[in-house]
């Protein structure tokens, strides 16, 4: 089973990368850009056919390593 994890910075946490990217895009002439925030994405393949077991497993991974819960949120999806 294949799952994805999307990690985003919590609201109000500074995103220096996103800021620099946004400024560059604006400098390149993209005008109606209101905001841009950067996050991470993981695609994970598990030997596990039970959906909720797989999600649980990935949730563990997020808590253990993938996400920094102090400044980040995460979201798990099944990839079809």
């Amino acid at each position: 089973m294949k799952l994805s994890v999307t990690i985003t910075l919590k609201k109000d946490v500074l995103d220096p990368q996103g800021k620099a990217v946004q400024n560059t895009l604006q400098g390149m002439g993209i005008d109606n850009l209101k905001s841009l925030r950067q996050g991470k994405y993981f695609e994970i393949e598990l030997n596990e056919s039970n959906e909720s077991a797989a999600k649980k497993k990935v949730d563990d991974m997020c808590k253990m390593l993938l996400a920094n819960l102090i400044i980040e949120n995460y979201k798990i999806d099944i990839v079809k």
Partner: protein, 726 residues
């Protein structure tokens, strides 16, 4: 909003303090004002528990241009050159989020340096972690090291030295201290004292977000089970913006337009504006709606207390605003006039033309509470451990155990994550006794070292306080530099506990004595209290950052052995003091007993004699003896050069273990050419300095007569594997 008991205590203020605020204001404060008081009266900004003792430290010698009281200390290194340096802690934020905590710690100390007009030329750090077996030590180590590197590497300042230590006392409270050193022209130093009325107060740098609101309070609050809740206040560092801010400030400083400049560190906009006003004896009025904000709907409270990084406050000469603005625009940074200096000595805060706060500057600075807290004297343990009382162990096994332990292993794993060469003037990287940085395009260089010894300080704070000053001095001597002055970061537990306050008071007594005797004053520093969880406080951990000067960079010494056949000489007397040594800790897990004694006159005498030998080029390499004793020092000399040594057993009465593992102070190892040994001995004898030849450099093997024979490669592997296997 009504100020309740709960709000007061949430702001970390005591009832008496609140009553004092009411008296000073002659009314109830509003929430914004209360927040400002809490930030300024906080331990971190007010030094309310430490001031009483700190004032005893010597702060002057003929090289000191600026002692404590400014963003950093300044010393004169001849010609028109000045060196500006300071060390600062970022312990609590780093425990919560190691990468960002350490990174922003580096950012903060860099700003303290370039605020004063110096281009930073070196970074160092002192990082202390819990027991490696402790659950999160590895994670903290990884995060802190990459955070320090991540920030310094990006800004492009070489990280050239420091110390990494493990001790279970830090299991729940790590220490992350960062030191920055900068170079400026003597007549181009900038201070934070405001002058003149109606001058523009300018905000430059990053936008203000909700970062670390109450961070200053957090830095001084003990951790408890609820510290989890304080987490979202973590600040994120942006080293890229820091680099731009640094270049923009240094560019502006070439013009004659800055009256005063101050970084926004702890308690951001609040402390920077109050500090400038207070030093200048005037007031400041701010229009808060002009503050560049990152988030929507930020309140004046949030703006004043935000600890967003990479921001500065500048007071400009009238008419220079446009010129200055152009510079910040070039570097893509915000530049906004947010207020002006005023005659009435108040901090006046307006938001959309409405006054939202008004506090006398004095009330926030001079009138801030100062406590002469109770303190208890520490007893020195009289118990001395004798080697005959200990279980037998093979000499070789003891040596190998120490050399491959977490605390004595090679730190390449750490230092390889730091760019040590950028800026092109690093003459000596980390790994030696001091880092050595050449002054750009000049013949002279400075030596820098960072030192601490929590175990000694815990065993007896006064002796420990003396010891670290001496160790710092010795490290500077060992590269052939003349020690000039120090900065210090005093990491202690809860000052409301009289035992802890005793550790603090006595550490200062010890430091003072050593600094005075060695003419090695304190020019800047930082105090970090409340290191510990609930009632468990860390060992007292003062950290000393020392700076020395070398007139000609061709006369720099290191501890690498230079040639086979050279003689290895121990300078300074070995008494065999084993208590508090690495030997007892690593092999027997014993941590009681007194620390080694300090004899200041021997210390000075030995050091100055070494400098004399160095000057006459009678020695090939130098290394001081510190934790791990003589054998560890000689092993390090061997390891850094891959040249072997043959060490003889001492002829005198001392037991082998006591001789090689004791940590008596004031000792150095010298490598001397056979041809020069006569002259060296003569000079040492003239100065009445004890010395003895212990061995000879040789090919390939590290050897102690009948006890140890290891190829230098084997030794290298033993010394290098810990971090990589951790």
């Amino acid at each position: 909003m009504k100020i309740t008991q709960e709000i007061i205590s949430k702001h970390g203020l005591k009832e008496e303090e609140y009553q004092k605020i009411r008296k000073l204001l002659k009314r109830e404060p509003n929430l914004l004002e209360l927040g400002i008081f809490s930030a300024m009266w906080n331990e971190h900004c007010s030094y309310k528990s430490s001031k009483f003792h700190l004032k005893n430290l010597p702060t002057k010698n003929k090289y000191v241009i600026q002692g404590p009281g400014e963003n950093a200390g300044v010393i004169d290194i001849g010609d028109d050159d000045a060196i500006i340096f300071k060390i600062e802690s970022h312990n609590h934020p780093s425990f919560i989020e190691p990468y960002q905590g350490a990174a922003t710690g580096v950012g903060g100390i860099l700003r303290d340096i370039f605020t004063m007009g110096a281009r930073p030329i070196a970074l160092l750090n002192s990082i202390h972690f819990g027991d490696p077996k402790n659950n999160n030590t590895k994670n903290l180590l990884n995060g802190v090291v990459s955070g320090i590197g991540g920030y310094g590497n990006c800004v492009g300042i070489p990280t050239v030295g420091g110390e990494t230590k493990f001790n279970s006392t830090y299991n729940e409270n790590i220490l992350v201290n960062a030191m920055a050193v900068g170079h400026a022209k003597k007549d181009k130093i900038f201070y934070s004292k405001a002058k003149g009325l109606g001058k523009s107060v300018v905000y430059v740098g990053s936008k203000t977000g909700r970062d670390g609101i109450h961070g200053a309070s957090m830095a001084s609050a003990e951790f408890d089970e609820n510290s989890e809740e304080k987490k979202p206040t973590v600040q994120v560092g942006d080293p890229f913006t820091e680099k731009l801010l640094m270049e923009a400030c240094l560019e502006l400083m070439k013009k004659k337009s800055i009256i005063a400049i101050q970084d926004m560190g702890a308690a951001g906009l609040t402390s920077s504006s109050v500090e400038m006003a207070s030093k200048g004896g005037l007031g400041i009025s701010l229009d808060l709606e002009k503050v560049p904000c990152r988030e929507e709907n930020m309140t004046p409270y949030e703006m004043m207390l935000s600890e967003s990084q990479e921001r500065m406050l500048i007071i400009l000469e009238t008419g220079k605003e446009n010129e200055a603005q152009k510079i910040f625009e070039k570097w893509d940074l915000d530049f906004v006039i947010i207020g002006k200096t005023i005659k009435e000595k108040n901090l006046i805060l307006k938001y959309n033309k409405t006054e939202v706060g008004k506090i006398p500057i004095d009330a926030l600075s001079d009138q801030a509470p100062i406590y002469e807290r109770d303190w208890k004297k520490n007893k020195i343990s009289q118990r001395k451990i004798k080697i005959k009382d200990l279980n037998k162990i093979k000499f070789k096994d003891a040596f190998i155990k120490i050399i491959s332990s977490s605390n004595h292993s090679n730190k390449n794993w750490v230092t390889n994550q730091f760019d040590q060469m950028v800026m092109g003037d690093t003459l000596q990287k980390s790994g030696g006794d001091s880092a050595v940085i050449r002054i750009h395009k000049k013949n002279k260089a400075i030596a820098i070292t960072v030192d601490s010894n929590a175990n000694y300080c815990k065993a007896h704070p006064t002796t420990g306080g003396k010891q670290i000053v001496c160790e710092s001095w010795r490290n500077l001597i060992s590269v052939g530099s003349k020690p000039i002055a120090i900065t210090n970061c005093l990491n202690f537990g809860n000052p409301e506990n009289s035992e802890i306050m005793g550790q603090f008071a006595e550490t200062i007594i010890g430091m003072k004595e050593a600094c005075e005797f060695l003419n090695y004053p304190v020019v800047s520093g930082n105090v970090s209290f409340y290191n510990g969880t609930n009632q468990k406080n860390i060992f007292p951990t003062p950290v000393i950052g020392g700076v020395g000067v070398i007139d000609n960079y061709n006369n720099v010494f290191d501890h690498k052995l230079k040639a086979e056949g050279n003689i290895i000489l121990v300078v300074g007397k070995t008494f065999g003091h084993l208590d508090q040594t690495a030997f007892l800790r690593e092999i027997y897990n014993k941590i009681e007993g007194p620390p080694p004694e300090i004899n200041l006159s021997n210390e000075k005498n030995n050091g100055l004699a070494i400098l004399k030998l160095a000057k006459e080029k009678l020695i090939c390499s130098i290394h001081d003896v510190s934790t791990g004793g003589i054998i560890s020092s000689i092993a390090e000399m061997s390891l850094s050069s891959m040249i072997g040594v043959k060490i003889n057993k001492p002829k005198k009465l001392l037991n082998l273990f006591e001789y090689f593992f004791s940590e008596d102070q004031g000792r150095y190892i010298l490598e001397v050419k056979p041809n020069d040994i006569g002259k060296v001995k003569q000079i040492l004898e003239d100065e009445n300095i004890h010395h003895e030849a212990v061995g000879v450099a040789q090919k390939k093997f590290f050897e102690v007569e009948n006890e140890i024979k290891l190829s230098v490669e084997e030794l290298y592997n033993l010394n290098n594997k810990w971090y990589y296997n951790y």
